[in-house]
Amino acid sequence: MDQQTQPLVAMRGISKRYGGVQALADVNLDIYAGEVQALVGDNAAGKSTLIKILSGAVPRDSGAIHFDGREVDIGAPRDAKALGIETVYQDLALADNLDVASNIFLGRELTLNGPLRPFLDLRRMEEDARTLLSRLKINIPSIRQKVRSMSGGQRQSIAIARSVYFNARVVILDEPTAALGVEETRKVYDLVREMRSHGLAVLMISHNLNHVFEHSDRITVLKTGRLVGTRRVAETSRDEILRMIVSGEADPLPAAGQREAVS
């Protein structure tokens, strides 16, 4: 993961205003394949807005998004998914009343071939869901169980598995472990490591700096809608990141980290 010159996703000059509130002002963010990029900052820093813009859930006011070197137009969740940008939302975005397989294929159901094309391929969806979950070592008692009756960790795993199935190149995780227990949290980070080793780019919002330092490669700090700075985990410290979060001021960069910083 050393010295990748070309970011997979480059967000440039992103701005967003909600009424009188400037949620984001001229923010840049680079995301690299095979890396975990953490997004940190206080409440109202603009983290959620930024990922919602990348995932197509919220339109941006200005700025450009480059994917794989070319400028792309992301105006709706479908556009992002078409590029391979998958999002796992904090509130999970699962339909409680549907079963595991239905949720994995939500909005992208597999259908039969030929003249039966309008109809669902229930068998293939179940088989693929089962294979996927066992590949990711996700333990779900039954693929036909309604998501409503599952634990937070199981639900989170299903939401992540969904993004993996559709050959995501970028996976966005919004507070992936906020409501999970210790063991479940560990499993989710196992999944994150798994995705990174498969060359996916992971963008993750977290409030837990321990998790961030343990599991990510780069940390980007936002404050009140502005970019404070980006640091490589290997070249920064908890103190520096904390100072950036609280003061909104970046320390003068040490010479080694200079070229990595996006400002």
């Binding site: 939302y89 699962l94 549907l98 239905s102 169980q145 409501a179 999970l180």
Partner: protein, 335 residues
């Protein structure tokens, strides 16, 4: 539902039977028991009940009620409501009857169905694109359709429809009454639509979690327009069957259709909160309602009491579902 709740519940993931959670199983079993009890009791109480002609009479009433409430079921599954179904039935029936007796049955049927579809499309556009709450949008449409029926009919009463047309309400195909064929054909088609197509999946997803549905990238707006359009179309389909059965039409055709339709949906176990239920339940619900009405007529129950009895049955069924759903649901999160 919050994640904390989900986690607390997840520890006791419940066994499922026939793909049904216990609270859903209760709905299915209780309705089948109710249906059986009704048939057995009425057979004992009235010698006229188990006769061919009476049973045909029951299904002739159940079929249009089912058509009307099946369309409504699609809307309710998305957590919406269509209050205009009765009025749309009335308007479509009047237009169709007028044109058919005027000598052009094909045009009459097409115009009747077209009127229903148009009302449904307007409802759908209002709810999905304009963001008007379905209760308000369809309440307005109810008055508009009703008003149009008055304008169109000018106080007229139409009766005496051609025999070929009357087949769909009162005819037979071999030994089987046409309304039965129509009911089961429609039931099968809608069941396949709901459970075997991406559109059907989407309808359940929208009712279960509209945000998740939108974020999944599915065309939520178009699917909402579809369910309201179907509800309008099914109401006009029901209108044709009713007109064919009664052999008459006037502005009162659509009166007293809305509440039985909602009742059939509720009795069928479809949740008014959306995402849970289906058209098979609605068919059972329509059958139960038709049997109860028929039974009360056979037993000479005063008509003044009949509406009250219906209301009582609906309240008991929904209340029982809530108690059972709540008791089991506390372990499963059916909040």
């Amino acid at each position: 539902m919050t994640m904390q709740l989900a986690r607390a519940n997840g520890a006791m993931a419940r066994p499922e039977l026939l793909g049904l959670s216990p609270d859903r199983l209760f709905v299915v079993v209780s309705r089948l028991v109710a249906l059986t009890l009704l048939v057995v009791t009425l057979s004992i109480l009235s010698p006229h009940f188990l006769t061919w002609s009476n049973l045909i009479n029951v299904v002739r009433h159940a079929a249009p009620l089912f058509l009307l409430s099946a369309g409504l079921t699609l809307v309710v599954l998305t957590a919406g409501i269509d209050l205009s179904v009765g009025a749309v039935l009335g308007l479509s029936g009047c237009i169709a009857a007028s044109l058919i007796t005027g000598g052009d049955p094909v045009l009459g049927i097409a115009a009747g169905l077209g009127a229903g579809l148009a009302c449904g499309l307007v409802n759908g556009a209002l709810v999905s694109y304009a963001g008007v709450p379905s209760f308000i949008a369809t309440y307005g449409m109810m008055w508009i359709a009703n008003g149009l029926a008055y304008v169109f009919m000018q106080g007229e009463v139409i009766y005496g429809l051609p025999a070929e047309f009357r087949l769909i309400g009162a005819g037979f195909l071999g030994p089987i009454p046409m309304p039965v064929l129509i009911m089961f054909g429609t039931l099968a088609a809608l069941h396949v639509l709901l459970h075997r197509t991406p559109l059907g999946r989407g309808i359940y997803a929208i009712g279960g979690n509209p945000v998740a549905a939108r974020l999944s990238g599915m065309p939520v707006h178009r699917r909402l327009v579809f369910v309201y359009a179907m509800s309008g179309l099914m109401a006009s389909f029901a209108a044709l069957v009713v007109v064919a059965r009664t052999n008459a039409a006037d502005v009162s055709l659509g009166e007293e259709q809305l509440l039985p339709a909602i009742a059939a949906v509720c009795l069928g176990g479809t949740s008014l909160f959306g995402g849970v239920g289906g058209v098979t339940g609605t068919a059972v619900g329509a059958l139960i309602l038709a049997l109860v009405l028929n039974g009360m007529n056979l037993l000479g129950v005063n008509t003044f009491w009949q509406a009250g009895v219906l209301g009582f049955i609906i309240l008991v069924s929904v209340f029982a579902d809530q108690i059972v759903g709540g008791r089991i649901g506390r372990a499963g999160g059916a909040t």
